[in-house]
Point group: D2
Chain length 323, copies 4
């Protein structure tokens, strides 16, 4: 099947092209890139394909999704931006600070976290690919909240490689500013991914769970390591067992024994590795590690495409097997 | 005054020598180093000096401290190891896994966190320099607990540069293992610094406060950034105000406005920078940043020497002024 | 075909296992690793396979090669160490400082630089895989010397990532020593790879060409960039054209237009990218970039296996196509 | 004495402010910075001071130098840009690609390489601070050429940290592009510093010496390591001895025994460390290491100020003593 990649010069788009080169069913037929200016993206709308990946800024992704859906209703569109992740126009306005450009699309695109919404993604023609931080937090946390194994008082401390900020000419992303450095940003409850995490939790857990979430910018290129601090009466082994059971049919989510997962174990793969450890009495810490460009973006987008089209869920994706 | 540095080839010892070169009162008269083998350290015991810094493994530091005290009772000994940080032999056994080699020294050396124990350090002849993580956590946390501005349910997520692990031939400290990587270690409540943090909190707050503490190894050389998650009914500004008042006479502890402090702001200085931010309702996060080799080791050791001898507290130390 | 990898815990051995996972014909049947001590390597000698890769220290590789040849004369043995790269026992003694442990093997194993010795490698049962620096220098330099396009007065300035030094517990390879640093080592004409480069040049060019060669250790994990400074009456385009013609049938050697190749263009591939630029009058500089673990070690070893067994030369190898 | 720093937000300007804080005679009275826009620089022209440092783009530095000289003829102006480094308007046009904005200044500002032009710098009121690469090459090379110890056929392979490229929003300077990477640029004889190096050599050696010069961009923040390949009949020890004699009265230039100098030995100091090693017969390689922001920019600018005003040459400068 021919596929098109909009925004193939950014880090996620480039990773999509790299991963799709090894896909047994899909073949990249065209790409658009900022090197050619905005018009290049427009030209992509004229190209026929069976699937389209949108690795575009969220401000433009929604209208492209709408236009592609109108022009080619049978094609699968996977949007990697944040444009379609929130359930309502009001939530979008609250977290993104402006009106949604295509509000009628909201609620129509399943949230593409395959291990949680597999049924909704199967057969879908428009899929909203989750945020990288959101993926790293929701996978370990959602089952524990859903089964009431942990309390609703959750703290997340997340650390991400710099590709997560995109290929943007920002001074804090210069080598001489970021090397030898570490910074926290959007502390507390202000990062946009908090919005989509809380919306998904409310949808699947059935109640509002306010998160405290602090992301950090690491001097590495790839990878997210999240530490999720929970209150619980359960032992670490019980929590790990529940997660292992929940993800029994999901090869890319792997609950590990031993020490916390390191970035180097997951970089380049579509895996999310999880471990659970004891804290002070009544507390546990759950670690999760993934590659922000693979399971946190391009790999998950391909996993979603695979599900939408009925291909094997892991087709063309590195990882998924042990140890 | 002549001073001697035991263990001057490790990262802390080297930093001591570097900082002391700019000290107006102290002059390094001799150093001992692993380059010359264990005997070189012994030879240092024969050298006369007004002050001795012990940047040695904790296993040997205690006996060296005892022998120096006997041989030169008027000299100041600052021990940078963990040998004398815990109040009792039982606590030492619990956290270090073996019997204390000189238990009669325990309780005699004030814990050298100048902003907390200034009165005990003044005039002392044996001082136990705090751990780097412990310094980064106790400075922001202790006043808030003491004034009951936050609850006793505290989570700390700390990230340290690799000099914190010492100049040790360990495979995980090789460039090719650590670069592009991030790992958590000793998760939950197992790191030795938890012992000294809880002991100091009990001493100054008056009650046991069990911590959940997860340290991480960063691919940078210097610096610690700790995120301290607290439950509180107070607004961030109120917490920041309380900290600012508490440290009004302590120029090296600086409560900042704006975003969380970054490592690059403190590396090379004896400063600890703190900021407070809102979390989910009822929660706040307190960040603290310092240089693990300066305020977390060599700089704080010099600050302690200054206090012990009645010199200006900041003599020879970079930092201490804004912004 | 079943293959065995001796020394699979080192960086080259690990890369072999990683690359072979995608090979259409070969399957890793067993590995030996330092984690299990020296005996584990011995145990590998009992395992039956169609091909063996030796990613072992040169001191032990020669005897393993000899024993494997005796025990399984039909199998292909590719030695990644320096044990068999020099033509004579005298040359080995001069460059390695001790007697060769199996001198009768010398001269029997073709030097596995496929683009230069393809005919000798086809059908061979024992192949000596070249050094990483030697590969990066010989590919661009040998054709120019052979066709007398450049004079015999050659200067090479090479820079390598730290995996080139192996997974060795050496202080200069610690993160805190290597990060933010750059060092030259073995300057002038003392690095062992000079011996194999000069031997190959003498063999294929027909005269002794003494090299001035200075390697550097970079704070990166992978990649070699060599700058080769030559005296020439030819224009850069003429030199590039000669190289392009020489490597017309060799997809992994690619002569580029534009600026000098960067490490990031070749890391992860089996490519060697070359460019030629003018220097002062009568001088030119030839750059070559490759991944020291792929074209400089594991990838080239697989390319040699492919040739030895008559498989497509690029089977299982990333790279080889433009741009 | 009050001094002003124009352009204090760039890396060189920031380093000037940092170093001047420890200067016994000079005190920074004002700075101008890009944060306030171009007008902020203009406002600096109104400020009275005894010395001015221009850390501005070369396009604007020349006119600022001219205006400061007219307005305050007794003040010392040190220009850190390339505006005044070349001797003639024709040379400037050739290397910078546009007409010089203040050609009457050319030839009036001594080239501020103190170890070579100390006499001209003493008492000067306008000084042109050398380029960082030029400093690293001229110091080791000039004496050897001048005393005809090496031939005029010279190859330089230089590697610089990324602060050398300035605090510029360029894509190749982003962390994700530069980390794990190495690139050569401006290869052969095209970098602007070649112009000033050849001009100084012609002036002091008495003949034109065309250089082959290839700079590289390292994934480190600070430091330059240059390898200078020369043809010579002299032994390395003879070359080192000649350099040692030439720089006997220059404490910041240090000819070392042992291995080539590493960046970590010079970063943070005003030192240039040099070593000499044998190459192939008739060849030697001379290494030089310095901190591009100190001896290559801000430190050398202060050294020039010291000389101009008759202060001790090393006042306020780190380095200058052994080992």
């Amino acid at each position: 099947m021919d596929v098109g990649v909009f925004g193939a010069t950014g880090y996620s788009g480039r990773e999509l092209v790299r991963l799709l080169a090894a896909h047994p069913e899909a073949k990249v037929r065209f790409t658009t890139g900022s090197g050619h200016g905005h018009l290049a993206h427009e030209a992509g709308l004229e190209r026929e394909a069976g699937a389209y990946f949108l690795a575009l800024p969220h401000e433009v992704a929604a209208s492209f999704a709408a236009r592609l859906q109108r022009a080619r209703p049978a094609a699968v569109v996977v949007d990697l931006s944040g444009a379609l992740r929130l359930p309502t126009a009001a939530a979008y306005r609250a977290w993104y600070g402006h009106e949604h450009p295509a509000p009628d699309l909201l609620g129509r695109a399943p949230y593409g976290l395959p291990e949680i919404y597999r049924d909704r993604i199967r057969g879908a023609r428009l899929i909203s690919n989750p945020g990288c931080y959101a993926t790293s937090v929701l996978l370990p946390l959602l089952p524990l909240l859903r089964e009431r194994l942990v309390e609703d008082d959750v703290v997340v401390d997340a650390k991400s490689g710099a590709t997560g900020a995109g290929r943007t000419l920002r001074e804090d992303l210069l080598f001489c500013e970021l090397a030898d450095n570490l910074s926290a940003y959007a502390p507390g409850r202000t990062h946009r991914h908090v919005g989509e995490m809380e919306a998904v939790l409310e949808d699947r857990v059935g109640r509002a769970v306010p998160l405290t979430f602090c992301p950090h910018l690491l001097p590495v290129k790839r990878g997210i390591l999240s530490a999720i601090y929970v209150k619980t009466g359960a032992a670490p082994g019980e929590l790990a067992g529940a997660l292992r059971a929940f993800y029994a049919g999901s090869p890319f989510v792997r609950v590990m024994e031993g020490g916390p997962p390191r970035l180097s174990e997951v970089v380049g793969t579509n895996d999310c590795r999880i471990s659970v450890h004891a804290g002070a009495p009544g507390r546990a810490v759950v670690f999760s590690a993934l590659d922000n460009l693979v399971k946190g973006a391009a790999g998950q987008a391909i996993q979603n495409l695979n599900l939408a089209l009925g291909w094997p869920e892991g087709a063309g994706l590195p990882g998924g097997e042990g140890p």
